[in-house]
Amino acid sequence: MAYTACLSAEWMKTRRSFSSWLVVIGSAFVPFIMLLANLFRPDSARSLYLKVNFWDLYWSNAWNPVATFLCPLGVILSTSLVTQLEFRNNTWKQLHTSPQSYTSIFTAKLSVLIIMFLQFLLLFNLFIYVSALIPTFVISGIKMPKGFVPAATVWKDNWDYFSACMPILAFQFLISLRFKNFLIPLAGGIGLWVASLIGISWKHNYLLPYGHSTLQFMSRKNITGIDPTKIYSSAAIYTIVFIVLAYLLYLTQKEKG
């Protein structure tokens, strides 16, 4: 009961916020660019729509920038924005004087971030389909290719990228709870993401928590030196460690507003 009240209150806080718009705009960005590309280049669109493996190509092209760039950066930005909402509005003291346990507050905040990430993935999948559909009404001679990406692939890809980005979400949550200055989690997150990209050719690249999403995408391109199993386990361990650490640091804060 306490948790659902907290979750509901946390969700209400995201209304009209920049982070909630970021989820919608971020998820529509790549499908929109792909749509424009097809609308402005109808000839290449016609040949693309005739291909037997249209959905595989379209799906993979859509995920390419999202997995390597938009997902990690979007998670860094939106996690920092949502978590820093209390610092920015000077509302920690109000929240911590409400009759809610610290555990409920912590888990509700984390849940909202996860829900927003899932919302992003859901919308992104939807926008991929819609962006492929629109040209069939606009460009003559184009028909919607039959079917869609196999459901198993949809689930697997979404789950893989979701789990690959969870360490980023967890660590950003941790530092955003600790630091009042918004620039610290933001700069820290971007710095760690760039460092992970630099270290992507390292043989123990699966140990870089901010590079898991890129590694997942690379594993689909059959690039050698990438072991998806290690990415899963590494991401899971990092996620758990960061969340537990964030919880303990949050609980033991001397000043709560």
Partner: protein, 300 residues
């Protein structure tokens, strides 16, 4: 019975730097308790300790007769608070700020209009709290503090940013709540005159220690004992000698004879003696010591 009671409450920001020391606060149930002190005296630290926003280092706090450490959630459900600067979600309008609060307190959203009316914010519509003036933000913070009909209101400088009219309105609102709903109110301020019209009890804190605690009457009795009588005569030096014959310890300031207001009989005797000695008495006036002076004397 006391609504808030602290024993030996102390807090240190560093090992040897005490912000407050051995504060024994006693806020009676149903009182409006003015917690006074200059900036940096330790008011906000004390209030943050009461609300659990600072970790308790030394001493005990009991609210509603229960220990705050072990009954935090239960106690907080009966308290409304406003601590220093407004605490609002700037991207949301007043109604949604209140709705979040209602959700956190597990109560219905049916009082939103009522508290907005009460605090004069009924016409803010969809205007977001970030666009409010400081006074409006303070009113909304107060609306949030009042929303769940708390038995205890803890308000840290609630009139910050309000214009004189706003201050009077808030004062009347708090007095009404106290009278009608028996809400206990702890209100901090660094300006005594601002709250002396509404408080029933006063606590004066300075440099982390409680200098005075008691009812307003007790504080006012200090005022009466501190009044001075001032005489303008044709010969101040001779008048001073005669005053001393009447056992009055007088001083001459700006050619005026001044001494602590004596009994009526002593004043009459002095005037009679002055007239008998052919000293003209032009004016006798009593200077009342105001509460602000007492406050200043206590903290200096």
């Amino acid at each position: 019975m006391n609504c808030i009671e602290t024993k030996n409450l102390s807090h240190y920001y560093s090992h040897d730097q005490a912000v407050i020391q051995q504060i024994d606060l006693a806020v009676p149930k149903g009182a409006i308790y003015g917690f006074l002190g200059p900036n940096g005296a330790g008011k906000t630290t004390t209030i943050r300790l009461l609300l659990g926003l600072l970790k308790l280092q030394k001493g005990t706090i009991s609210i509603f007769g229960e220990d705050v450490q072990s009954n935090r959630i239960k106690i907080l459900s009966r308290i409304g608070s406003l601590i220093e600067t407004p605490s609002l979600y700037g991207h949301l309008p007043a109604q949604e700020n209140l709705a979040i609060h209602a959700r956190l307190f597990g109560i219905k959203k049916d009082r939103i209009k009522e508290v907005l009316d009460l605090t004069g914010l009924a016409n803010t519509g969809k205007k977001t709290a970030g666009k409010f003036s400081l006074g409006m933000k303070q009113r909304l913070s107060l609306a949030i503090a009042l929303y769940h009909n708390p038995e205890l209101l803890i308000l840290d400088e609630p009139t910050n940013g309000l214009d004189p009219n706003g201050i009077i309105e808030i004062r009347e609102l708090l007095m009404k709540l106290n009278a009608e709903k028996k809400t206990t109110i702890l209100i901090s301020s660094h300006i005594l005159t601002e709250i002396e019209k509404m408080v029933s009890h006063v606590g004066i804190i300075h440099q982390g220690t409680l200098k005075f605690q008691g009812s307003l009457q007790e504080l006012q009795s200090k005022r009466h004992s501190g009044n001075t009588l001032s005489l303008i005569t044709s010969d101040s030096v001779a008048a001073k000698r005669i005053a001393e014959q009447c056992s009055l310890s007088a001083t001459i300031i700006d050619n005026k004879l001044q001494f602590t207001t004596p009994e009526h009989a002593t004043t009459a005797l002095l005037v009679k003696k002055l007239v008998d000695q052919n000293i003209d008495v032009y004016r006798i006036e009593e200077q009342h010591q105001n509460l602000e002076n007492i406050f200043m004397n206590l903290i200096n």
